[in-house]
């Protein structure tokens, strides 16, 4: 057993934040590797602080640890200073649990939650002492797999990943483990054999068993199987009932500070608000709520076990949780008397009801409240199907200021389809009116506007949209800067359009980007998510070197007949549903939340024979979208009936 601790330890005093590398978290299990157990190294390709809280990896860590035929440990991307040490001293990537060398594991399993971490994936594979390209790996090397939201277009990483998992990991991880256990028992002879067996598991995609062909004009022709073991289309995995998976049961409590350093309890998975820019909302359908009673138990036990004084009720829109009022009340009662428990709702809906819930839970520390109207005008919000009216926002903001919050933060996107300068400037206009609302109530409220450039993603209605150029995004940011200067009380923050450009490149890229990613990594381009390390010049040089055009990948509108790099994968959504939704977007046609209204046959439920699991048949109080309450205010044409016969395939 190669434990690198003795070699690592003398160097830890000289690197930043050495506590990143020591493990020792509460909840970490002492692993017992054995020949019959498949060794999984779960790797988050970013720093420990960002990666440790990742709920997906923690869930898999527990499920695998509970199995008798598996051992799970964790690893995170070493920061550049430690990487220098590792390379200089010849120390491999290691697990933080036992500091075991990464190449001793049977699988390196990556969580891919964003595209800019791809170069870090290659770096971690290389630091593990494993060839970065799957074609160069021998039977003794670990298999390299990946899961997470970014895997819905895994093609840019097709050269480097042995297998990719689409969708919820709770069930499929065990099915994979059984295949690997048999492979291990058989002496790990052939990689091809195990990959072919893995390809037979629903939800598992083996890129090397497919071939991408291209048309003369450079567009993709098709991605097709070249092996009988590979299905023509790989469907995502979906767990039908969240109640059967009350994980994490033993959330890891790190000894050093991390992001989201609190108890996290997932209250539902999936979202059907249908915001057209939002990949998470599209690929995680249908909505599956956790029973309120189970949420209460997880909160109660979690707080006692971890000692946290904060719990986040997580989901894509927690105010939509049927049991929100009850759960919040009982959590607050739990905290009463002993200590000050605070509850946070990471994704707030924009309405007064939400603010009332927030007021109920944030009795103390009432500092800032964040909303995401996403666009500055009602017209634009119809296009993106974020159907909150200005009245909703004003009600939310004035309620927040009147109940003691001092700062309101508003999230927006620029570079959305059909966006005009009037829409862009509408952002500052909205913020300015929010400041005025605070004034009316006698507060010196401040409003922070945070602006990101819109990046189209796979399996969304906007997947055909040619994103704005970096120049155009910058121009819009500058418009906002000028306008914000004149608006007292409005502060503007923005995301670097250069990083959005490369995120856009990789998000909808194809297999030809593999060599580009490798080029950037070899040139030292790691930690591209980190502003101080992002290197646009490296990406441009790599694209040039491989005869590829950023503009063609990012800014070109796709047509209906174009084959997309993820067409051989499925998030359950019919392609014609997405296309229709894209056309509806261009016509500013809103679409209601299908939880409480008729089915639009997007495919996510019908295709998998599952349904929304919602505890309440009536929508929660407040809110305009999906409840029908606010829609009349805007006079928006809303499609209320299925627009096509049910059962039409993609």
């Amino acid at each position: 057993m190669a434990d690198v601790w003795a070699r690592l330890e003398p160097h830890l005093a000289s690197v930043q934040k050495p506590a990143r590398y020591i493990g020792c978290e509460l909840g970490a299990e002492v692993p017992a590797p054995a020949p019959h157990r498949v060794g999984w190294l779960l790797v988050y390709p970013d720093t420990y602080e960002v990666g440790l809280p990742n709920q997906g990896l923690q869930i898999l860590y527990e499920i695998l640890t509970e199995r008798d035929d598996a051992v799970a440990e964790r690893s995170y991307a070493p920061w550049t200073d430690l990487e220098d040490v590792l390379r200089r001293e010849g120390i491999p990537l290691f697990s933080v649990d036992t500091h075991r060398s990464a190449d001793e594991f049977d699988v390196l399993a990556f969580n891919l939650s964003a595209e800019l971490v791809y170069t870090n994936v290659l770096n971690c594979i290389d630091l593990a002492g494993v060839p970065v390209r799957s074609a160069h790996r021998a039977p003794q090397h670990p298999l390299v797999g990946a899961g997470g939201h970014a895997t819905y277009n895994p093609e840019p990483l097709a050269d480097f990943l042995d297998f990719v998992v689409l969708g919820d990991g709770e069930e499929v991880v065990s099915e994979i483990n059984e295949v690997l256990a048999a492979w291990k028992a058989g002496g790990r002879t052939s990689r091809l054999d195990v990959l072919r067996t893995l390809a037979g598991i629903e939800g598992v995609y083996v890129p090397s068993l497919y071939e991408a062909t291209y048309l003369d004009d450079g567009r993709l022709a098709a991605t097709t199987p070249v092996d009988p073991a590979a299905p023509a289309r790989v469907e995502k995995r979906t767990i039908a009932d969240l109640a059967e998976w009350p994980y994490p049961k033993r959330q890891l409590v790190p000894l050093t500070e991390v992001v989201h350093d609190r108890l996290n309890v997932e209250v539902f998975r999936g979202c059907t608000r249908g915001c057209r820019f939002c990949q998470a909302g599209m690929i995680t359908r249908p909505v599956r709520e956790r029973p309120a009673e189970q949420v209460r138990e997880m909160v109660q036990q979690g707080l006692r076990r971890t000692g946290y004084d904060e719990v986040a009720l997580t989901s894509l829109s927690t105010a939509d949780f049927s049991g929100i009022t009850d759960v919040v009340r009982s959590t607050m009662e739990e905290g009463e008397g002993c200590s000050n428990i605070s509850v946070s709702l990471p994704s707030l809906r924009v309405d007064a009801f939400t603010v009332d819930v927030a007021a109920q839970i944030q009795k103390a520390r009432r500092t800032g409240l964040t909303f995401a109207p996403e666009a500055g005008t009602w017209r634009m919000r119809q296009v993106i199907n974020k159907l909150i009216t200005e009245d909703d926002l004003h009600a939310a903001v004035s309620s927040a200021f009147s109940q003691g919050w001092k700062r309101v933060k508003l999230y927006f996107l620029v570079g959305l389809p059909t966006e005009t300068d009037e829409d862009t400037l509408g952002i500052v206009e909205l913020a300015r009116r929010c400041v005025a609302l605070a004034k009316e109530q006698g507060h010196n409220g401040s409003v922070t506007v945070s602006v990101g450039g819109f990046v189209p993603k796979a399996f969304t209605p906007f997947q055909w949209f040619g994103m704005n150029t970096e120049v155009e995004l910058r121009r819009k940011v500058n418009l906002l800067r000028d306008a914000a200067k004149a608006a007292k009380g409005v502060q503007l923050k923005w995301h670097d359009p250069k990083a959005s450009l490369i995120e856009g490149l990789v998000s909808r890229g194809d297999r030809r980007l593999g060599p580009v990613i490798e080029h950037v990594w070899r040139a030292g381009g790691t930690f591209q998510e980190w502003g101080e390390h992002f290197r646009l010049d490296l990406w441009q040089a790599a694209m040039d070197a491989h005869g590829l055009d950023v503009d063609w990948y990012c800014h070109r509108h796709r047509t209906e007949d174009e084959a997309l790099p993820w067409d051989h994968l499925s998030a359950g959504l019919h392609k014609d549903f997405l296309w229709q939704d894209w056309r509806d977007a261009l016509e500013q046609l809103g679409l209601e939340d299908c939880r409480w209204t008729p089915c639009y046959d997007c495919g996510a439920c019908t295709g998998y024979g599952i349904e929304h699991v919602v505890a309440s048949a009536t929508p929660p109080a407040g809110g305009s979208q999906g409840t029908g309450q606010g829609l009349a205010l805007g006079g928006v044409p809303v499609g209320l009936t299925p627009r096509r016969p049910a059962g039409v395939g993609a």
Binding site: A6, P10, C24, L255, R304, G307, D309, C338
Partner: protein, 256 residues
């Protein structure tokens, strides 16, 4: 009701920062069900008071924490070590607790010097012993230290209260990539350094002795206060006064 707790910080967790330790204590006390008093105001925090910060990477046999217990708590303070120990990470052990009278000096005010075992990397025992003798015999020991990001010249001599080479130095093997582990010379230095009026850090002491030397493992063995001119620990472990004291781990047996 203020209680003073003595605890260790050893092994892998020596890489935790002072801030990390504060968070760990807050969570540990909540897990142990110890009702702590909270501050008033907009953002109530548990009333915990830490002593002199220990540098990230350094180990200690004697750290201190003052805890204001909630006034209505039914807890017998003597039970504190037993209550918190099952919830502390490996390498941290609460050893003893004493009540602190209202109006007493804070830990930071009370502690006047610390005892250290410092591994000096890059020098053998004779050289370090000679340097220690020279330093003790000198009337001033000018050196340059980093303070708030700037280089400052100070005289290290007044802060050096005691200095000697440990009788049985433990050389640390420093492995090289090819697997051979030649022993770089390293020497264990036992020092007492003042924390008032101006403190001297172990790394600064090592550099003052010889700029080519660097500190390796560092262990804080004691924190000293002056009571009526006599040097004593805030909570001595072996003598009377401490309740719930456990035996002091041997300094050489540092878990990793």
């Amino acid at each position: 009701m203020r209680q003073r707790l003595r605890f260790t910080k050893q092994g892998k967790i020596r890489f935790l920062s002072h801030r990390d330790l504060a968070r760990i204590w807050e969570r540990t006390l909540r897990r142990a069900g110890v009702a702590v008093a909270y501050s008033e105001g907009f953002s109530p925090r548990p009333r915990l008071h830490f002593g002199l910060a220990l540098s990230t990477g350094h180990e200690s046999l004697g750290e201190y924490l003052d805890i204001d217990l909630a006034p209505d708590g039914a807890l017998d303070p003597a039970d504190l070590p037993a209550l918190v120990n099952p919830h502390l990470p490996e390498g941290m052990t609460a050893q003893a607790v004493i009540p602190v009278e209202a109006g007493s000096d804070s830990l930071q005010q009370a502690v006047t010097s610390c005892g250290w075992e410092i591994e000096v990397v890059g020098a053998g025992a004779p050289a370090v012993a000679a340097a220690a003798q020279r330093a003790l015999g000198a009337s001033a020991l000018p050196t340059t230290v980093e303070r708030k990001g700037a280089s400052v010249s100070i005289d290290a001599r007044p802060a050096i209260l005691a200095l000697e080479v440990a009788p049985s130095p433990v050389p640390t093997p420093v492995p090289t990539p090819d697997g051979v582990a030649p022993l770089r010379p390293s020497t264990l230095l036992v020092a007492e350094l003042a924390t008032q009026p101006r403190s001297l850090r172990p790394a600064e002491l090592v550099r003052a002795l010889d700029p080519a030397w660097v500190e390796g493992r560092v262990l804080r063995t004691h924190q000293w206060t002056l009571v009526d001119g006599a040097r004593c620990e805030p909570i001595p472990l072996s003598e009377g006064g401490a309740r719930g004291a456990t035996s002091i781990p041997h300094a050489g047996a540092r878990a990793s």
